[in-house]
Each structure stands twice: as structure tokens, then as C-alpha cells.
């Protein structure tokens, strides 16, 4: 008896849940999407705090050219210890190829300390600090190895993440504006305008993206400052990516326009603007968010591909694509496999955005089982 009452109460409770709560319940069932939220949060946080997390200045070269990645150990000759450490790296030359060879020197343990002193930077762009999350007091710590100029790859990936992670979001602003505007007038006016815009979209998506992006990107004057190149690239990426959003906006507008509550609002004498903003827009926000989320990975990949091919951002600006330029030659890659590390970051980032978009899409309409 009590059980039945409780279920009834539970049902009552479900009726009183807000739309947001329902969406959240549905979203939580998509495990991959929930995990990806944490992954994305960690990535964006690390980009925000990049200088604090990176033990070295990303532009500072050293004599340790192409040093291989060091592994963090907990078990040394004295058995397990709580403080992690790395082994010092011994440098020698291969007698045959004269290449530098690095070997772990198991006699020199370098304990890793939290909040170690290092290079000076401005925390969040304001406070001058020289503390870093971790570091070694003597010797060197290159978790992902170093590149051809002896720069710390770990620090460079963190700093490059700032560009790679933001390029999708900035591009989103452009494609959001374009997509909402053109999709909006297409769905609202209908008729010839609609037909023209839809045909235009069909035409745009039948152009293979990479060849188009490459051409547009190469057309940017080589003397542009990095910031302008950055915005130029985001606009180039948005040229294609707005189409998806515009289609969503249009189809949702057409769908919602025929809903009874919209007619009710019109009959009650609401102005056009009020009908659109107050009644129609809330009905499509969740779909907009899904469409936006799913368009981010494409733009991140676009930037990575352009920069990797040398037609996007150029050094000294660092993004994951720029870092991957060094991994272009198979020979270099076979000798220094840690240079591939940025590729794994891009893949994790893109998969996380895809999973998030998938989960949001499932949750966007919580009333469909």
C-alpha cells in the first residue's frame, strides 16, 4: 500500500519537473556524453591555466634537442614512494649515426614537487607568478619529450590548446550569426527566398571542404598579423559550417509555425516579434544547441588540417595543428614518436564534442522515449 502511494507521489513529482530537469535526466542516461563533459571541462580548464600547468616556457629552446618523453615513476630502487619522480636523462651520441641518443639514468632520481618554481608568467593575465603546478628542482622534466629546438612539448601542447580549443568556439559565433539569420529568413519568409537559400546551401555543401578551405586560406596575404590570420581562418571555417545550423533553424521554424500555441498567441494579439521571441524561440533552443555542438568538431579539425598543411596558422603561433607540422615526415616520426602526441589530443577533443552532441540530441526532446 505504502509502496503504491510512493510510486504515485513519484509520478506526481515527474509531472512537476521542469523541462530543464527532464532534459538533464535524459542526458544523464547517455554515459559517453556525461564523461565527455568532464573531459571537455578538463581540457578547457587546462587551456585557461596553461602557463600554470606547463613547467617550461613554450618558446624557450634548450640544448636537449629531440629528447624522448620521460615517464613518471613511483617505484624506484628503494621500493614504492609516494612522491613521484622521473629519472634524469643521459645524453650521448650514437657512434654510427652521430645522432643524439638519450637514455634514462637510473642512478639520478629527480623528485617532482608541487608548486615548484619556474619561469615567470601572469596568472589569468593579471598576477605575476613563478609557481607552477609541478616541476623538478634540479635536472629537467619533459613529460612529452622535446622538439627540434629542444622546447618542451608538454608545455607547447598546453599552450597550443588555447588556440585549438578556442577556434571552434569563435567560429561558432560566426556560423551562429549566419545560420540563424539566413535560416531564419528562409523559414520565415518561405517562397522564392527560401528556395534560393536552400539551393545555395545545397551548392555549398557539394563543394569538397578541404580543397575549398585550402584555397581560401592560401589567399590570405602572408603579411597579416597572427590575430588577423586566426580570425580569417575562423571565418573561412564558418563559411561551410553555418549551413547545418541554417537547415535546423529553418526546419524547426516551419514545424513550430504550425503549432497550435503559436496560432493561439497570434489570435491573442501578440506582435510578430513577441510570437517569435517568446513562443517560437524557446521551442527551438535545444535543437540550436545540439546543432552548434555538432558543428564544433568540424571547425577544430579544419583548423588542425589547415595548420598541419602549412596553410593555416604559422609558427610562432602554436596550435595542435601547427605542432603536428613537425610530424609530417615519416622518418622524423619513426625516430621521435612522441611528436604525435598532439594528434591524440585532437582526437580526444573531437570525440568528446561528438559524444556531447550525441547526448544533447537525445536529450533535446525529453518527451520522446
Amino acid at each position: 500500500m505504502r509502496g503504491r502511494i510512493r510510486t504515485r507521489e513519484r509520478e506526481q513529482e515527474i509531472f512537476t519537473f521542469s523541462q530543464g530537469q527532464l532534459i538533464w535526466f535524459k542526458f544523464r542516461r547517455h554515459k559517453a556524453a556525461v564523461v565527455s563533459i568532464y573531459v571537455l571541462a578538463a581540457l578547457y580548464l587546462s587551456a585557461l591555466l596553461a602557463p600554470f600547468l606547463s613547467p617550461y616556457n613554450m618558446n624557450e629552446g634548450s640544448m636537449r634537442v629531440y629528447q624522448r618523453a620521460q615517464t613518471i615513476h613511483f617505484v624506484g630502487e628503494r621500493g614504492f614512494q609516494l612522491r613521484p619522480f622521473v629519472y634524469a636523462v643521459k645524453e650521448s651520441r650514437d657512434p654510427v649515426t652521430m645522432e643524439k641518443v638519450y637514455t634514462e639514468d637510473t642512478s639520478g632520481m629527480l623528485p617532482i614537487y608541487l608548486f615548484a618554481r619556474g619561469w615567470e608568467y601572469k596568472l589569468l593575465g593579471v598576477i605575476r607568478v613563478d609557481r607552477h603546478l609541478f616541476g623538478v628542482q634540479e635536472g629537467y622534466l619533459n613529460l612529452f619529450g622535446t622538439d627540434k629546438l629542444g622546447r618542451d612539448l608538454f608545455s607547447r601542447i598546453l599552450m597550443g590548446g588555447r588556440i585549438s580549443l578556442s577556434v571552434g568556439l569563435v567560429g561558432l559565433v560566426f556560423s551562429f550569426a549566419l545560420g540563424c539569420f539566413l535560416g531564419g529568413i528562409s523559414g520565415y519568409f518561405g517562397g522564392t527566398v527560401d528556395m534560393l537559400i536552400q539551393r545555395g546551401i545545397e551548392f555549398l555543401i557539394s563543394i569538397p571542404t578541404i580543397p575549398l578551405w585550402l584555397s581560401l586560406s592560401a589567399a590570405m596575404p602572408p603579411d597579416w598579423p597572427p590575430v588577423r590570420v586566426y580570425f580569417g581562418i575562423t571565418i573561412i571555417l564558418a563559411i561551410i559550417s553555418w549551413t547545418g545550423l541554417a537547415r535546423t533553424v529553418r526546419s524547426k521554424l516551419l514545424e513550430i509555425r504550425t503549432e497550435d500555441y503559436v496560432m493561439a498567441a497570434q489570435l491573442a494579439g501578440s506582435s510578430e516579434m513577441r510570437v517569435i521571441l517568446r513562443h517560437m524561440l524557446p521551442g527551438m533552443t535545444s535543437y540550436l544547441i545540439v546543432s552548434l555542438t555538432l558543428s564544433v568538431p568540424g571547425m577544430i579539425l579544419g583548423e588542425t588540417a589547415l595548420s598541419y598543411l602549412g596553410l593555416g596558422l604559422r609558427p610562432p603561433v602554436v596550435s595542435w595543428g601547427v605542432l603536428l607540422q613537425e610530424a609530417q615526415k615519416v622518418d622524423t616520426l619513426m625516430l621521435h614518436p612522441w611528436l604525435l602526441a598532439p594528434a591524440y589530443f585532437v582526437i580526444v577533443l573531437v570525440l568528446a564534442f561528438n559524444a556531447l552532441g550525441d547526448g544533447l540530441r537525445d536529450a533535446a526532446d525529453p518527451y520522446i522515449r
Binding site: 557539394s206 578541404i210 580543397p211 619513426m334 594528434a343
Partner: protein
Amino acid sequence: MLGYIVRRLMYMLLLLVVLSVVVFAIIQLPPGDYLTSYLTRMRLQGRTVEDEAVIETLKRQYYLDLPVYMQYLKWVGGILRGNLGKSFYWNRPIGALLAERLPLTVSLSFATLVFSLALAVPIGVYAATHQNTFFDYAVNVIAFVSIGVPEFLLALLVMFWLNRWFGISVGGIFSPAYRIAPWSVGRVLDMIKHMIAPMAIIGLAGTAGTIRVVRANMLDELRKPYVTTARSKGLTERRVLLKYPLRIALNPVLSTIGWQLPNIFSGSAIVSMVLVLPTVGPLQIDALRNQDFFVAGSIVMILTMLTLIGTMISDILLAWADPRIRTTGGGL
């Protein structure tokens, strides 16, 4: 049906006109005209072309003395007569440059599409008929990851892993032994062997997408009452599947070929750059690095044209397979 094809062809012509305008805009995009940048480069290389007469001839050759719309018309007129113009960088006709590389580009893309469909349809059907089995889950997870992983990073990683673990080098289209050998059975086999990895990489995302579509549609169809009726009448499971649900589930697959093609061309361009295959992809990169926008624009145009033709063929196939489309116009 004939009326539909005619309408579709007219629309296609219109798209080609728009395409030519877009490509011409791309060619004109870099600041300054190409003759100026060509001359600057010549000067940088230490060669002098200061001779006024030579410059005048070049100007007339590229119609730079005419207004922009006349330049466009001359350019289009040349294309209609099969003359794509001349590459500044290679100093050769663009048509000849493309002719060297297009056969491989097209065959690689076409083979990828065919293999992708041939693989995806059976897998999708099997996953749908065995819903919630281990196979189904495995297919879903693999499909999700494959759609997300970008082709060019995959190419990079595959190249690296194969080299590292098996000592196989996947770059290029021929083994060193066959690189300059004349055509023979062995050489063809060698080339096919080198095409497998690129095809798998380019086609992965599309295959995964098609599997998802086929699976979802099959699941929808299998739940419908007519399937139960067919079963209750004692049809074999195989016949039940093949007779109706599969045909309906394949419809969206046919219609998605149109948007798979640009992805495949785009993918093959960038994968070729990573794996050093002599398709138009690396040619375009070389052209752009040397500011030769005539070649780059022509490549965009050829690839888009192929996509448009492919889309048209798939539309016509779809209209042939589904009478509803040709009677209502199918969006036309």
C-alpha cells in the same frame, strides 16, 4: 521520368554556372593580380622580366587588360573549349597537369564509395536483425569512434603504427621495385595493395555513417506490421528481409551518396597529402604554396563538378527506385 531527368539536367547546368563564378572568385581572391605576383617571384628568384613587351604579351595572354567580367567570360569560354589555362608555376597547361592525376583521384574515390557501400549495407542489416547483441554494440561503438576520428590524423597514425609494429611503409602507390617499372600484372597488384590502406582510411567515416543509417532504418521497418504479416504467412526470414524492408531502408542510403561524395573527395585530398599519393590533393597544396591559384581553383572546380554529377546520378537513381520522388518533383 524523362521530365524529371530534363529538369534535373537544367538545374545541374545552373549549378555549373554558379560554380564557375565561385571558382573565378577564388582565382581572383589573392590581393593583386597573378601577373604581378608572378613577376615579383621571378624578380625574387633573380630572373629579370622587365622587358615591357614581354609583360604586355603576358597581360594580353591572360586578358588582364580587360575588365573583370570580360576576363571571366574569356576564362569560361576557354573552359568550354577544353582549355583550362596555363599554370604559372609549372609553366604547363592545367589540363595536362590534371589529366595526370585525375584518373587515380577518381578511381580511388569511386572504389572507396563502392567498397564503403558494399561493406556498410550487410553490416547495418546484420546489426539491425541482431539488435542488442554483442555484435550490435561493437558495431555501434566502432561506428561512433570512426565518425569522430579525422581522416588525416588517422592516416598519420596508421602510417606510423604499421611502420612501427610491422615495418610496412604505406606511403606512395608503388613499392620501390615497381616505381619505374613498365606496367605489368605485378605492378597493378602492387598498386592495389597500396590502395587498400588509403581506401580504408578515407572510407571509414562514411562507412560508419551508412551503417548507422541502414541499421536505424531497418529497425524502423522491421517493427512495422507488414513484416509481421509476411512472417505469419510463412515466408523465410531471408525473404522477409530482402523483399521489402531492405529496399525501403536502402532509399536514404542512395540519397546520401550526394553528400558522401564531397566528403570522400575532401578526405582523399588530405589523406593523399599525408600518404604521398599522386592525386590532385598534393598538386593543389603545391600550387597554393606557390600562389598558383589557377591550378588550385581548377582543382576545386573539377572536384565540385564531379560531386554535382555524382549527386545528379544518385538523384536520378533514387527517382527511378522511388516513384514518389519523380511525381512530386523531389525538391525540384
